[in-house]
């Protein structure tokens, strides 16, 4: 019995100390960032002819319902030098036809250089209308998201590329904010920058812009707001400060194209392409011996819809687990390898112990507790004390992240929404066994060799 309690205690304690440490680093970085932001004029960079040109890559598969709005929103971003490259990944609906008609596209004599591997390109299209001169559309055979992004990289003209999901809503100043670290850093080469992804469910959207931010009415979606706030404000912010960032959300990120190409582009067989690319780029730079940095900005840059039913949530989480295991396995050489700096000594071990193994241990723990309970060996007083410890610390971390949100971006205007979010913090630890279960399922799928994204039901906002 005490074997079990000791083990759970030490592991949880280590995990909590780690999260506490991450929270500390986040505070430090957020405070500096916010203070500096007070003196930053983003308008200068958005309007300057000296700002670097950026290529925005938008892979689209069966997005006929929202694609026109998405493209129009992107073409109206507040930034001077950019191009939008829409990649139709062999959609089976009318995505391409709708875009072609709306923007008056014609096929060009584009000579396609397959520098990065991708499926066959049927054609590269430009608009007859000069108003849409910034738009390029690639029509290609279906190959998945990574494949589409490789195709987009092959066509992009600029060294800075932004990858975004076609169904995400982008903040108008997101490009300016993402480009800033690339312009600021002089000592190290910035190879990628990410920002905060927020949850779109229940928000009021008009013409591709967020009109009013609301906390989702659906409980699962509202719970994910808390989860995302904690992950983005406490987790990634700290990892950026510690130079151990391994993930830039696939929903939106900016990358140095030269480094992506050097690292071999997106792996078309990879399910967790966003994480795998960042790890591979970091490996490439470390092996080249060049000083580099992956930065992160805490500003909300894009809004995306999250699963609001259990089936979709399960599909998403099992896919995340498969992606994580695959990336960890593929780059296991990094583990505790000094050559890769903080990535090897901190970032990789963290993801291995606390993101991959922790849910597995938790699941085993739940099973073991049930077994001990049935066997009558369990000391319920100690058990509940241990659970109360885990429960209180989880709520504490969630409260902390909501406090951050309140002190910094203050996105939820209504007090009711914030109180609801704090209320969810009390229920959230009870959901953890479910998340641990999804992780176990994901691991089983890895063993069984499952591939593919699964389907996530979109409800619209």
């Amino acid at each position: 019995m005490w074997f079990f309690i000791n083990f759970v205690f030490f592991f949880t304690l280590l995990l909590f100390i780690w999260y506490f440490g991450l929270g500390y680093f986040s505070i430090k970085k957020l405070r500096i960032y916010n203070k500096k932001n007070t003196y930053t004029n983003y308008g200068y960079i958005a309007d300057s002819p000296l700002s670097p040109s950026v290529s925005i890559l938008v892979p689209a598969y069966n997005e006929s319902a929202s694609i026109i709005n998405s493209v129009k929103t992107l073409l109206n971003l507040h930034y001077r030098n950019f191009e939008v490259i829409l990649i139709n990944d062999g959609s089976t609906d009318k995505t391409f036809e709708i875009v072609k008609k709306e923007f008056g596209l014609v096929k060009t004599n584009y000579f396609f250089d397959y520098r990065l591997p991708c499926e066959r390109i049927k054609g590269v299209y430009k608009s007859k209308n000069k108003q849409f001169a910034k738009l390029t559309v690639i029509n290609k055979n279906n190959g998945g998201k990574s494949d589409s992004l490789n195709a987009g990289l092959n066509v992009s003209k600029n060294n800075l590329v932004v990858t975004i999901d076609a169904d995400s809503i982008i903040e108008p100043d997101s490009i300016t904010k993402l480009v800033k670290p690339f312009l600021e850093e002089k000592k190290k080469k910035v190879i990628a920058t990410g920002g905060v992804v927020r949850i779109l469910n229940s928000c009021d959207v008009e013409n591709g812009r967020i009109k009013k931010i609301n906390l989702p009415k659906n409980f699962l979606a509202a719970w994910q707001v808390l989860e995302y706030t904690r992950a983005f404000l406490l987790g990634r912010m700290a990892w950026s400060q510690l130079d151990g960032l391994m993930l830039i959300s696939g929903a939106m990120g900016m990358f140095d194209k030269e480094t992506i190409i050097g690292a071999g582009g997106y792996d078309i067989n990879e399910i967790g392409e966003d994480m795998e690319l960042v790890v591979r780029m970091r490996r490439y730079m470390a092996e080249k011996g060049e000083k580099y940095i992956v930065t992160y900005i805490p500003d909300p840059l894009c809004w995306t819809e999250v699963p609001s039913d259990l089936k979709s949530l399960k599909a998403q989480r099992t896919r995340w687990t498969r992606g994580l295991v695959s990336t960890l396995n593929k780059h296991s050489v990094i583990f505790l390898n000094k050559k890769y700096g903080k990535l090897g000594m901190l970032g990789y071990p963290f993801w291995m112990f606390f993101e991959w193994l922790a849910p597995l241990f938790a699941f085993i723990g739940v099973g073991f507790t049930v077994y001990l309970g049935i066997d009558g060996v369990i000391d319920w007083r100690t058990f509940f004390l241990l659970y109360a410890f885990i429960y209180s610390f989880s709520i504490f971390m969630s409260f902390w992240s909501v406090l951050f949100e309140e002190l910094t971006f203050h996105k939820y205007d209504r007090k009711r929404d914030v109180l609801k979010l704090l209320g969810i913090a009390f229920i959230e630890p009870l959901l953890y066994p479910m998340i641990a279960f999804f992780s176990v399922v994901g691991n089983i799928q890895v063993i069984r060799g499952k591939t593919g994204w699964g389907t996530i039901k979109r409800t619209g906002t």
Binding site: F10, S48, N109, F111, K186, L385, F393, K415
Partner: protein
């Protein structure tokens, strides 16, 4: 080997588990002796009886739970109170901003302030919160005011004794206070502390450094706004460079000759001057630009190549051709692009060699583009290439000739 690596964390966890058990056993046996000896009065012994041998953790657990719930409660109260406080503060700030702005404008009109007005402003300065709003409003008014009235506003500012406060902020150890002071001084054109500001142009903090540069440019009297470049030893980021360029355009200041700083020891200053040389078309000093093409720093050399192309300096095409062979890939690409921008038929032969000799598609595409840019002579050359048996250039040339793409 890869699969083996994944077992490592599991082994570490097992070790952690065993060590914790050993520690527990050692610790609990001491207390067990105590309990067996009949001494059950101590708190630890009591816990031992209630919770068994895990008493050491129990204290830690109870302590952690209590701490967590206390912090949770404090955060909850803070969130509720802070929201109300912030809303009140924002409302008050917006009200005061409006009131102070009109008061300042009133005070600047006519023959200066009355005694009552002066007393009222002095009262405002007794509160730190209100004084900060007043100072911000003075800066806002300074931005709106015509130049000839700035003197009046400056006098008003000095009469409030705010300069003393500004000096204190400028000498503060906190970087954001220094920035506030520099903003006040530069917008009101008070030059008493230029030496103190100049010290910050090499500050470690990038925001402070940039604000110091902006202040120095604003306080320069248009004589030599970029004099600070001579003292700049620190990195000079593209962000800072863009901000200064925007500031130049905003304030319509006289543009200095940037070529004199091209050869600066600070590579970033060289890059900035290359940017400005291009923006303001300063092509008089070709020699310095030529030297930049041979710059030992790969990035600076690449940018110099780009600028020479943008400025269409055909006189340097021979140098571009000369350096091509030994340059790294991305610099080579830039050389070809730059030659294309020059629209010089004399480069066609060289460009044909690039297209024929290079295996890289990007270099070939840029080579063909560059040839096409050489007007009729270029088109004839492309026609010859189309007819050539040496290589099939059809797809490449079709791509380049499609104006919708390029």
């Amino acid at each position: 080997m890869r699969k083996f690596k994944l077992i490592v964390p599991i082994v570490i966890m097992t070790i952690l588990f065993v060590v914790s058990f050993m520690l527990q056993s050692k610790y609990s046996s001491l207390i067990l002796e105590n309990v067996n000896g009949g001494n059950v009065e101590g708190i630890i012994s009591k816990q031992f009886i209630i919770f068994g041998s895990g008493f050491a953790f129990i204290n830690v657990l109870i302590g952690s739970i209590v701490t967590c719930f206390v912090v949770i409660f404090v955060i909850l109260v803070f969130v509720l109170v802070n929201r109300r406080k912030m809303e009140k503060r924002a409302k008050l700030k917006s009200e005061l901003t409006e009131v102070y702005q009109s008061k300042i404008l009133d005070a600047l009109e006519g023959n200066g302030m009355t005694f009552d007005e002066a007393e009222e402003f002095k009262k405002i300065c007794n509160s730190e919160f209100k004084k900060a709003i007043l100072t911000n409003q003075i800066i806002d008014v300074a931005l709106m005011l015509p130049k000839d009235k700035l003197g009046l506003l400056r006098e008003f500012y000095l009469s409030m004794g705010l300069l003393f406060e500004t000096e204190r902020k400028l000498k503060s150890r906190k970087w954001h206070n220094k920035i506030k002071a520099m903003k006040e001084l530069s917008h009101l054109e008070i030059k008493h502390f230029n030496n103190l500001i100049l010290k910050n142009i090499n500050a470690k903090n990038d925001t402070l450094r940039m604000e110091a540069q902006i202040a120095m440019v604003r306080l320069s009297d248009n004589k030599n706004p970029f004099e600070f470049l001579e003292h700049l030893d620190h990195e000079f980021s593209t962000w800072e460079q863009i901000t200064l360029h925007e500031l130049m355009m905003e304030s319509n200041m006289e543009v200095p000759d940037f070529s004199k700083w091209l050869v600066s020891d600070n590579h970033d200053v060289g890059m900035f001057c290359l940017r400005m040389t291009r923006e303001y078309n300063q092509v008089e000093d070709v020699e310095n630009l030529r030297n930049m093409l041979y710059h030992p720093n790969e990035e600076v050399a690449r940018f110099a190549i780009e600028v020479v192309g943008d400025l269409k300096l055909s006189a340097l095409s021979t140098d571009l051709k000369k350096i091509y062979k030994d340059e790294p890939y991305y610099n080579k690409l830039e050389v070809v692009k730059s030659l294309g921008k020059m629209n010089n038929p004399k480069t066609i032969q060289f460009l044909q060699h690039v297209v024929d000799g290079e295996e890289d598609t990007q270099l070939q595409i840029e080579g063909v583009k560059a040839i096409r840019n050489c007007d009729d002579v270029g088109v004839i050359a492309l026609q010859k290439m189309l007819d050539s048996d040496y290589r099939d250039y059809k797809i490449l040339i079709k791509h380049v000739l499609d104006n919708r793409i390029n």
